[in-house]
Symmetry: none
Subunit: 157 residues, 2 copies
Amino acid sequence: MTLISSLADHIERYIKALLDQTEQRSLEIRRVELAELFECVPSQINYVLKTRFSNERGYIVESRRGGGGYIRIIRLEPRHRRDICTWIYETVGDSIEAEEAEGLLAQLLDHDHLSRKDAVVIRSLLTQETQGLEKTLANRARAVLLRSMLLLLLHGS
Amino acid sequence: MTLISSLADHIERYIKALLDQTEQRSLEIRRVELAELFECVPSQINYVLKTRFSNERGYIVESRRGGGGYIRIIRLEPRHRRDICTWIYETVGDSIEAEEAEGLLAQLLDHDHLSRKDAVVIRSLLTQETQGLEKTLANRARAVLLRSMLLLLLHGS
DNA sequence: ATACAGATGGTCAGTAAAGGTCAAACAGAA
DNA sequence: TTCTGTTTGACCTTTACTGACCATCTGTAT
C-alpha cells in the first residue's frame, strides 16, 4: 500500500483493520473517540467516511446523534463468484464515470476478487485510453474497457 | 541527444537506481522533494515521467494531489516482457482489422504468451463489443480493447 | 407533558497542501 | 537554419483538514 500516507489514509486503514479483525460485518465507533485517538477534529472522521466508506465502495454508514450516539460502519457482503459477472454488467452498464469505476475496483479489491497489480494496470489503462475524450464518450469507452478487462480476468481463474 | 547528460537523464537514472536498489517493484516520491534534490522546477519531474516512464516502456505512474500527495512509479515487468508490450503497442496501433487481430493472437498463442482460454475470451469479447459498429469505428474499438486486454494479461501475475 | 441542558453527530465553506498542464523560451545537433 | 528534445514558470485542479455553526437525541427538573 502507500508509503506516504495522509491522516485520512491512517484512519481508513484503522477502520478497515478493525472490521477485518472483529470478523463482524459491522462496527460501531464514537466519533469523538476516534478523533481523539488520531488527534484531529471530529469532522475529519466524516471526511474519511465520505471519501473511503461510500456506498459505491461497498459500505453503509449509519449514525445517531445525541446522548449515546454512534456511527456504525457496515461492510456489504461480497458477491458470490458466480454472480459477480452479472453484477459487473449491471454496475458498469453502457457508461460509467471514473469515480464509479474506482468504487467498483475498490470493492472487488476489498473482497479479493482482484489482485492489487491487476487493479493498478486496469486503472492505468482506463486513464490512458479515455484521456482527452469528451466526457460522454469517455464514459462509454470506460464502460466497454472495464467490462471487458474484468470479465477477462474473472473468466481466467 | 546531448553528449553531456541532460538533467532529465540524471533524474531518470536516479529513479531507476532507486527502483533497483529497493528491490521493490514500486516507489513513491514527493514531487517537490525530487525537484529540490535536483534543483529544478517541479514540472521537470513530470517531463521525466512522461518521457521515460511511460506505459510503452513498461511503467505505470500513479499520483495523488492535495495534502499527503505523492507520485508512485511502478515497474511492471522485466526487459523481455516489456519488449513484448512495446511490440503490441506497435502492432495494434490505433486501429486494427479483425483478421490482423486474429493473427496477433495466433502469434502470441504460438509463443505461449497467451493461454488458449484467454484467447477464446478475448475473441468473444472483441466480437461482442465491436459488432454492429461501422467498420472504421469497429477497428478503433478493437484496437483499444485488444491492446488493453493483452497488456493486462501480460502485466498481471 | 414541557422545557431546558448536555451530549453527540452533521454540514459547509474556507484554507492549505500537494500534483498537473501547457505554452513559451532555450539549447544542441544535423 | 531548422528540428527535436529540454527546461521553466504561470496558472489550474484535486485532496486534505479545520472550525464555526447546526441538528438531533437523552435525560431530568418542573
